[in-house]
C-alpha cells in the first residue's frame, strides 16, 4: 500500500476540557511538573549563585 501523504496524516486534536478527571490526570501532572520545574530552576540558580559566592569568598580569604 502506498504511503499516506503528510497532509492527510491522522492527527487527533485534543480539545482541552477543563472538566476533567482530577485523579492522576495528565493535565494535573503537567501543571505540577511545570511548577516544580520552574521552582527547581530557581533553586538551582540560587544554589549556584551561593556556591559561586562561597568560592569567591574562599579565593579572597586565601592568602
Amino acid at each position: 500500500m502506498a504511503d499516506i501523504d503528510t497532509s492527510l496524516v491522522f492527527n487527533p486534536h485534543w480539545i482541552w476540557d477543563p472538566a476533567i478527571w482530577r485523579i492522576l490526570d495528565e493535565n494535573d501532572k503537567a501543571q505540577a511538573t511545570a511548577v516544580i520545574n520552574i521552582q527547581l530552576d530557581l533553586i538551582r540558580e540560587t544554589l549556584t549563585a551561593q556556591l559561586n559566592a562561597v568560592a569567591n569568598l574562599k579565593q579572597l580569604l586565601t592568602p
Binding site: M1, A2, D3, I4, D5, S7, L8, F10, N11, P12, H13, W14, I15, W16, D17, P18, A19, I20, W21, R22, I23, L24, D25, E26, N27, D28, Q31, A34, V35, N37, I38, Q39, D41, L42, E45
Partner: protein
Amino acid sequence: MSPEFDPGAATELVRAKQNVVLVGFQKMGNLGLGYLSAVLRRAGYCVQLIDIEADPEQIRSTIVAADPVLVGFSLIFQYYIRRYGALMANLRRHGVSCHFTMGGHYPTLNFEQTLRTVPQLDSVVCFEGEATLVELVEALHTNSEWRRIQGLAYRERNTFIANPPRPLAADLDALPFPDRDFEPIVILGRKAMPILASRGCARTCSFCSIHTFYRTAPGKVVRTRQPAEVVREMQLLYEARGINIFLFQDDDFPLFGPKWRAWAGHLVDELHASGLSRKILWKVNCRADAVEPELLSRMRDAGLYTVYMGLESGTEEGLITLHKQITVEQNLKAVRTLKEIGLRFEFGFMLLDPSSSFSSVRENIEFLREIVGDGCAPATFCKMLPYDGTPIKTSLEASGRLKGDVCAPDYDFLDARLDAFYLRLARIVDVTGWIHGPRALTMTLEWAHTEVAVIRRLFPRVPGIDAYEASLRRHTARSNEQLFKMVEAVADFCLTARGAVLNVNELRAGCEETRETVTAERNAFVTRHQHILLRALAAAA
C-alpha cells in the same frame, strides 16, 4: 509647523517601539488574546503572543529580549494559577520589572485571591479587557497614573482595591478582527480556525461562571456581531489563509428565541450571498432547547456540520441541580432532531454532580445509551467540578461539602459510597486512557467521525465512504457499550461490595486495540482514496 518636527509622527515612532507581551493558553487558538493583541496593535504597540505551554526558559528569554512595558497573562483555567505564579516569580528574579497584569474569568471574579496568590502581579484587568488594557498600557507608556483606570483591580499596601467595572463592549463590530498568530488545526488538509459571532450567555447554569462574569459588569449581557461582519471575517480568513472550517466559540451561539433565530437566518443568507456556503464548514456550540429542525436544516445547507451541546445530565434532578432549565426529554428531542436532519453532534456530559446517587448514575448511563448507543458519536463524561464564581460552589460551601483548593476544587457526595465509586472509576478511566488526553480512544473516534463529515462535505464523492462510516459506527457503538458496562460494574461493586472485579489491564488492552483498529482502518481508507483527496486539495490551493 516645520516639516522636521511633527509631534504626532514623533509620538507614533515612540509608540511603535513599545512592546507588550501577552502570555496565555494557545491550544485551539486563543481568540481572547487575539482581540487584546488586535486592539493594542491598532493603538500602535508591538505585541508578542507567547503560549503558556512553551518552555519556561523560552518564555523568559523572549520576555527579557522584548523588554516590554507590560506583560499580560490570560488565565482561562483557574488550576493554572500556580504555574503562572511560578513563572512570574521566575521572571521577576531575572530582572523583569515591568507591569504584570492578568485577566480572565477567575481573576475577574476573584481579584483579591488572585493578587494574594500571585504577589508579583501589579493589577488585574477585570471583565472584558480590550479598552482597559489599552488604557493601562497608554498610562504606563506615558508614565501617568494607572491606578484610577476603570475596570482595574490592584493592591495598595495591605488592601485590595477594585475600581468600578467598565461596561461590556456594546458594539462588537467596533473591535478589530482578532489577531491569529497561531497555526490552524488541519483536518485532512483542510484548515480550521476559531471565530466568534457573539459574547455572553443569557442562561444561569449553576456550574458555570460565564453568566456571573457578564452579569457583574454593566451593559447588555449577550451581544451579537452583524452577520455581514462575521461573514466578512470568514471570507478574509478563507482568502488569506485558506481556512475552510470555522469553529464558533460563542458561549452560546445565538439560536434561541425569535430575535436570535432571525439573526442566525441572516447569517445563513449572508453565507449564501458570499458564495462561501458551498466552500466551507462550520461548527457551533448551543443549548439543546435551541435545536429546531427548520433553522438547523437551513444552517446545515449553509455549511453547518457539527453541533456541540452541553447536555450535562440525563436525569431531571441533575438538570435541576445544574440549573440547566431544560428537561431530559428536550435533550433527547434535540439529539433526535439532529440525527434526523443529518447533522453530527458532540456533547458535554456530567455523569456525576452534587445531587448524584447510584440510581442517577444508572439513569445517566441509560441516557447515554439512548443517544450514542448506535455509535453515532463516542461516549464521554466527567464529574462536575465547583469552579470559582459559580453558584454551585457557593451552595456547596454553605452546606459544608466543598473541599480541595483553587487548583483542585472538589466536593463530597451525599452518599459516601459514591466517593469510592468516583475514585475507582477515575483511576480506571485514567489508567485505560479511555476518555481524556490526546491518545484517548474517545478523541480518536471523535476525530475519525469529524473526518467523515469533512470528507462528505468538502471533497468529491469518495467510493466506500458509506461502508467506512458504518464500520466506524460499529467500533464506536462497541466501545461505548464497553465503557457503559465498565461504569455499571464499578457502580455495582461499590454499592453491593459484590460482582466481578474489573481487570484494568484487560480493559486497557481492549481500549488500545480498538484505538489501533480504528486508526488502521482510517489510514487504509484514506490511503486507498488519497488520489481523490489530494486532487481536491490541489484544485482548492
